[in-house]
Amino acid sequence: MNLVEKILARASGREKVAPGEVVVANVDSLILHDLSGYITSRVFEKEVKRKMRYPERVAMVFDHHFSPPNEERARILEENRAFARRHGIHLFDCGSGNIHNVAVRNGFVRPGTIVVGSDSHTPVHGTLGCFAVGLGNNSNAGTVMPFGKAWFKVPETIQVKISGQNKPGVCARDVALWLTGQIGEGGVVYKAMQFTGPYIKELEVWDRWLFPLITIDVGGKCSFIEPDEKTVNFVKGITDEPFEVITSDPDCEFADVWEYDASGLEPQVAASPTLGNVKPVGEFAGAPVQWAELGGHGGGRLEDIRQAAYILRGRKIAPGVKFNLVPSSREVFTEACREGLVQLLHEAGCTWFPPSTGSNQAINMGAMAETEAMVSTHARNFPGRNGSPKAMMYLGSASTVAASAVKGCIADPREFTV
């Protein structure tokens, strides 16, 4: 069995499971955000109407709001807080960071566990060797609360092997974006992906994280990376909770093996309307942007902030461009402060925002008029996700975002880094 199969077997009390089987498995962590969590909480109280079984395993993170933009949203947040108090679940209020970073940094994600969440990017937690999937906001997540269990169909697994080394100015996010295009938006429907190969092994944990992050956007059920020493040290640095590392059997079989070579890759940009519309940066170079942002589920990491600072040191962003910096967690904001990056980027003309998902879905910020365009590290670029359906969203690495902010149009970061 592979890692995911072993986790599912253990959590459902079986010796063995095989792809296609349906199992009912114990869940270790349920993570919710302020929007989906609201829906789940209503279903739980109004329809499920049972006791919260393991409140200590449930965390709600307010990340789509760092501050409510209207009374209705203020009311929703208040109801979420009351819900958290009533049932004793963990609450991470406005300004804590984005759901997935907060979940990791507070020990809700440990190797060998099952992590479910009412956010489609929950599979990102496969990075630490978990079985991690997104559940429906309503009945599915709502029934985990009283039973501490959920049903899953064991997915088939594709092994995705990546080799090669990036050229200067190209980074893990470019490879992940490119892979989204290679696999295709419906390329692995309901399948698991094991990301492996020398390229992945070389990466630090927060960069590995960018690969399972793409799972849902290529239609996958979950993804995982075999835990190694880096993984174990990373998790031990965060939590004292014990965990058991589970790895795939050496003889496990995969439904398919796909191999990719990342050497020679150019910086990549995915332009609206879909993630599949990913091309080398040169294809979009010169397209004007008014907004730039480091933020979202995969962005606003310390690594992103450092990349942007490397490019912006001694430079200013172009007149007319607004560059939003949204740290992925409170810890990242504090560390950026310590490293002097808050000051450096502020002086370059960037604007700092509270830790959150930033312009994701334009709830607190990031609504664009029809003539506007944004370049960002966000995970999605669908029309209308950030204001007017005519507004453009370009996704790229933090280096590409920073280079584009300096030039006022989509730009190749190698102009500044090489």
Partner: protein, 414 residues
């Protein structure tokens, strides 16, 4: 004549003016922002009007920053476009107009400044006559550089002594509100003088003048002194003249206040005139706190906040939003380690903008939520749901209260 009359007389080209006289004055600087400018931009274009002086008409984008609605994004792009088409400076998302006007050298002693925002009266702290006006009037000023005004009657506030430590200009403003009421200075000028004003930092003087409109005043004003001269160094090349009230200037009423007896003051929900010494409401629980806005989003506010907060944590039930009034203030806070202190204490540090004060976005209050805020208004529903409540206080009181989760006298923590 008093200081306001002298400034208005000069701007009208007259030797002398008296209260109730209608005069036409030349405006030195005029501004609008993205919420109220677009109300006249279209008509201005249709009528084919031109700008009277592109160096003196200024635009700001400060209320809906960053935009959370497409409507806000559209208002911003419309304002930026107007600036581009008419060659006007537009400060886009760099901070609050009332902080940037003086910071960028657009407020000089003895001048007349108008803006389409009620808290334009803030610049009286620099010995300027400044007042808020409507959008259609602003269209006319953008074109002619002139406006008619009625010379206001004057109230004089003599504040003797010196404010005690951790008692701030905001406390004085709130105390004065309880003396005048919310309409006690309607269309009057409020002039502040005395030893307590003299030793006060400019930041506190700005929050004092900022609140003048809350008593209904046309303007609030303080004679410029060496602190103003020092502030303006490096910000302007223009020569300016400091205007002072004549010793025999007449006032409709003189209020004598002993500044040394003033206590931290809190305005209870409903109106800023509902102000009482902090002791009267001490212990009132709340869950939301706001430190920022054009009233109290400056260095004095963050320094005193950080001093109280150092080594302490925000109460777990309280969310404290901190919003610097400009990029320069943000920058200075980073340099002084203030951002770090607030982050470590658990505060939410935000980008420079007006914040939730005007009830537009950015942290509105839900049903029955209670907020202690350094802003200037607490009318029903001002910051969100009509059932929510806002207590107005100084920055020191806001921070001290946020630590305890209930309204607290800042002096009790130092």
């Amino acid at each position: 004549m008093n200081i306001t009359e002298k400034i208005l007389a000069k701007a009208a080209g007259l030797d002398k003016v008296e209260p109730d006289q209608i005069i036409e004055v030349a405006v030195d600087r005029a501004f609008t922002h993205e919420k109220l400018g677009p109300l006249f931009f279209k008509k201005f274009r249709e009528m084919g009007l031109t700008i009277w002086d592109t160096k003196r008409a200024i635009l700001f984008v400060d209320h809906g920053v960053p935009p959370s609605k497409v409507m806000d994004a559209d208002l911003i792009t419309e304002t930026v476009k107007f600036g581009e088409d008419y060659n006007l400076t537009c400060y886009n998302a760099e901070g609050i107009s009332h902080q940037l006007m003086p910071e960028k050298g657009n407020v000089l002693p003895g001048r007349v400044v108008v803006g389409t925002d009620s808290h334009t009266c803030t610049y009286g702290a620099f010995g300027a006559f400044s007042t808020g006006i409507g959008s259609t009037e602003m269209a006319w000023i953008f074109n002619k550089g002139r406006i008619w005004m009625k010379v206001p009657h004057a109230l004089l506030f003599k504040v003797s002594g010196e404010l005690a430590p951790f008692v701030m200009g905001k406390d004085l403003a709130l105390h004065i509100m309880s003396l005048t009421g919310a309409d006690g200075a309607n269309y009057k000028t409020m002039e502040f003088t005395g030893s307590a004003i003299k030793v006060m930092e400019l930041d506190s003087r700005m929050s004092l003048c900022n609140m003048a409109v809350e008593a209904g005043a046309k303007n609030g004003i303080i004679e410029a002194d060496e602190k103003v001269v020092e502030f303006l160094k490096g910000r302007t090349d223009e020569a300016y003249e400091i205007v002072k009230s004549d010793p025999d200037a007449a006032y409709e009423k003189v209020y004598e206040i002993d500044g040394s007896k003033l206590e931290p003051t809190v305005a209870c929900p409903g109106s800023s005139e509902n102000s009482v010494p902090v002791g009267d409401v001490e212990g009132t629980p709340f869950t939301r706190a706001l430190l920022g806005t054009c009233t109290n989003g400056r260095m004095e506010d963050f320094r005193i906040g950080a001093k109280i907060l150092k080594g302490r944590k925000i109460h777990p039930k309280v969310r404290l939003q901190v919003i610097p009034a400009s990029k320069d203030i943000f920058s200075q806070c980073i340099k002084e380690g203030i951002v770090q202190t607030f982050l470590d204490a658990g505060a939410i540090w935000c980008n420079p903008n007006c914040g939730p004060c005007a009830g537009g976005h950015y942290g509105l209050l839900g049903q029955d939520e209670v907020c202690v805020s350094s802003s200037n208004r607490n009318m029903k529903g001002r910051m969100g749901d009509p059932s929510s409540k806002v207590y107005l206080a100084s920055s020191a009181t806001v921070v001290a209260s946020a630590i305890n989760g209930k309204i607290t006298d800042p002096r009790s923590l130092v």
